[in-house]
């Protein structure tokens, strides 16, 4: 086993370059991971401030703050920015930081392409956000951009939106190819597939999903582009096309996409719960198979987003049962997390608090998903606030709490300092209370019939909306505390040992904290 670095790079292995070229030209997985995380948090604040506009308008019935046209742009941009700008890049950032350290690799497999994947994102979002200042305003048809709202009736800026999506897609596909090549090819000797850390496993499967569905998203926006600018009739029935075709192609991408946003969180939580339970993960192999099963099933459930659009009864039945089937592998995972904690020696530092809240609240989101999966009931819930409640319960305490848990768990490794535990716990509890206050009442609003994506509502929805807005403001403001905690942690704090969590396991904890700029130039041996 020879050293990993070659003679050419060995001379330069002092550390990062100075100045801003370090960030612009870097090929280092840690620098790129940091840039992804910073970008993601910036987008989180931007998308979050749009959510604040939405909640401020909905604080009371009637139109107070914004016009309906602008309100629609806010809901659309909030969704697009959070999905493509906040959640997905955060997980890619975590992957960049952690996968090479977890598998004992010197870096990602294709470091230059890695840098390109990152820099395409600010480029794409510059184009997307610039649509807010264009004639006719930003996209206003919801983040799902259903035709014909987005084709026949969309604003002129839709074309810019389409190209922004293309650039994001290129970035995601290259990022995913990089992750797969790294995992399949750069593991330390002895690390067989079934010895891989679960975060690595979940990312391997996530990367596969990305490569499978991002091109389909590119396909559907290309059809939109052609319908808008070149006279094709993919989504126009008068030319023999079908607006429902848009929904089929979009959701063929869209459903695996929701697993892209949650599987890496599953992986991270599967590291954090054992660490703070001081027990090995219960049912490692079943966790791996469950993630695989979820990923495969995610390809055959897309039409459960379309029960009310008018699809044949056989289709409704198939997609209803297939969707319910996903509860089985998901149940296996929740069972395993709980069984890991069972009779463990538990302690509740901030990462564990976020992870436990993840298990409980994600399960609530999963259950409302099961309710929505029942086709006849969905006729009642469809396009109401119940749907909004459902997907915010899987995305906020699911994906985003998973990201926060990971950030607190690995911050000592990244910065070399411990974060402020009291502030971390404050961040958790304020987020926990704020987010439940914001999203739980939406279940009731939806069941009572309040439609989503409207700036005004009937008087009987007023109280719950006010509660929801107060919760949303609390949650939003709390995230500034997170920014403060991270900056404080980077600038100083208690020195972190190589392994700050006594129950944690994995190669990343064999490295000093902060992890050196170049790691594992000689791959470690895994027994």
């Amino acid at each position: 086993m020879s050293a990993v670095a070659d003679t050419h790079t060995q001379e330069h292995h002092h550390g990062p370059a100075r100045g801003f070229t370090r960030w612009l030209l870097t090929t280092n997985h840690k620098d790129i991971g940091t840039m992804y995380l910073v970008f993601s948090f910036t987008m989180f604040l931007l998308g979050g401030s749009m959510a604040m506009v939405i909640r401020a308008e909905l604080f009371q019935p009637g139109l107070q703050i914004v016009q309906p046209e602008f309100f629609n742009q806010m809901t659309t941009m909030h969704g697009l920015i959070m999905v493509f700008g906040a959640v997905m890049p955060a997980f890619v950032g975590l992957a960049n930081w952690m996968i090479p350290m977890m598998i004992g690799a010197p870096d990602m497999a294709l470091p230059r392409m890695n840098n390109w994947s990152f820099w395409l994102l600010p480029c794409a979002f510059l184009i997307l956000v610039s649509t807010l200042f264009m004639k006719g305003g930003a996209p206003n048809f919801g983040w799902t951009f259903y035709a014909p709202l987005s084709t026949t009736y969309g604003p002129p800026s839709t074309t810019f939106f389409i190209f922004a999506i293309h650039i994001m897609g290129i970035s995601s596909i290259m990022g995913a190819i990089n992750v797969i090549a790294t995992i399949l090819n750069l593991r330390a000797p002895g690390m067989t597939l079934m010895k891989m850390p679960l975060f690595v496993w979940t990312w391997l499967i996530t990367a596969f999903l990305l490569i499978a569905v991002m091109p389909v998203l590119a396909g559907v926006v290309t059809m939109m582009l052609m319908d808008i600018n070149f006279g094709t009739s993919f989504f126009d029935a008068s030319g023999g096309g079908d607006p429902v075709l848009f929904q089929h192609v979009f959701w063929f991408f869209g459903h695996p996409e929701v697993y892209i946003m949650i599987l890496p969180a599953f992986g991270a939580v599967s590291h954090i719960i054992p660490a703070f339970s001081r027990k090995p993960l219960f049912g490692y192999a079943s966790m791996v198979y469950a993630v695989g099963a979820i990923a495969l099933l995610s390809f055959v459930v897309w039409a459960h987003h379309m029960f009310t659009v008018g699809i044949p009864i056989a289709g409704q039945l198939f997609f209803m049962y297939a969707t319910m089937l996903i509860a089985v592998p998901t149940g296996v995972k929740v069972f395993n997390w709980v069984a890991t904690m069972f009779r463990g020696s538990l302690s509740f530092e901030t990462p564990m608090l976020f992870a436990v809240a993840f298990v409980i609240l994600f399960t609530i989101g999963g259950f409302s998903g099961l309710m929505l999966a029942i086709a006849p009931s969905d006729f009642q819930y469809h396009d109401t606030y119940f749907v909004v409640a459902h997907f915010h319960y899987v995305l906020v305490p699911g994906a985003i709490f998973g990201i926060f848990a990971s950030a607190y768990f690995w911050l000592p490794k990244w910065t070399g300092h411990m974060y402020d535990e009291t502030l971390g716990k404050t961040h958790f509890w304020l987020s926990f209370i704020g987010m439940n206050l914001a999203f739980f009442p939406m279940h009731f609003l939806g069941l009572a019939g309040m439609p989503r994506r409207i700036p005004d509502y009937a008087l009987q929805f007023a109280d719950f909306n006010m509660v929801s807005s107060i919760g949303a403001f609390t949650f939003g403001a709390t995230q500034l505390l997170f920014l403060f905690i991270v900056i404080k942690c980077i600038r100083g704090g208690k020195e972190a040992p190589a392994k700050p969590w006594e129950g944690a396991e994995g190669l990343e904890w064999t490295l000093p904290s902060p992890a050196p700029y170049h790691t594992f130039e000689t791959p470690p041996e895994v027994k």
Partner: protein, 295 residues
Amino acid sequence: MATNQTYYVPEQSKWPIIATVGLGLTLFGLASILVNGSQGESTTIPWTLFFLGALIMAYMLFGWFGNVIRESRAGLYSPQMDRTFRWGMSWFIFSEVMFFAAFFGALFYVRTFAVPWLGGEGDRGSSAMLWDGFQATWPLTQNPDPSAYPGPKEVIGAWGLPLINTILLVSSSFTVTVAHHGLKAGNRQKVKLWLAATIVLGLSFLTLQAFEYHHAYAELDLTLSSGIYGSTFFMLTGFHGAHVTLGCLMLIIMLVRIFKGHFSADNHFGFEAASWYWHFVDVVWLGLFVFVYIL
């Protein structure tokens, strides 16, 4: 289990950020051309941005690939790096497969569901009420609303140019394989001959495709805007044609590299990647020939 040798981690590189600026300018320019054009505004600046971006992209491609080729020839890459390139290319081709799957899916959906339903068949036959008297046929020459989308007079039959094109592409898959065997046997004369033959076959395919498009637009009124048949026909064959063009470019660059004395009998992944891509566009064509032209 992969055995780990020296793994090349490159130094800082300017190419990714140049590529970002290039791609961003190209697409922002393209969007501005379309939007300004549709609003009757000047498109001078958008075109400038577009060409500037495209130039930067071209510069980047030469520079970045040149970099990789130099590193490869300097012997910096280990067999492990070679495996990374193989995984990378395979998954890239898989992503292309899924891109075409979206358009094939659209074709199957309109043929199996949307058009028959508009004509009154099946579970959702009530949509037949939208256009009374509409007859569902495939190829769809009479659209539901002919005033919005005048249908084509006729569509392109499978057994003329498309058949010749099929023969051309399938034989080009054989010739590129013969060239590959030549490379492995160290017979460079054979590589040059058969690779050049592959490129000629590919370019002939593109020429015939251009004739076919001209015929469709000029004589058959089969256009992008002649309803769903034209939409699926031109998008599928058009994207395929774009991929053949890219594949030809790759092969031409491989031929140049062969003439420059690059590649050895056991180290020529660049060539293999190009030939994988070529086989991929060939397979897509077979799908097109069956589902767009014959059936």
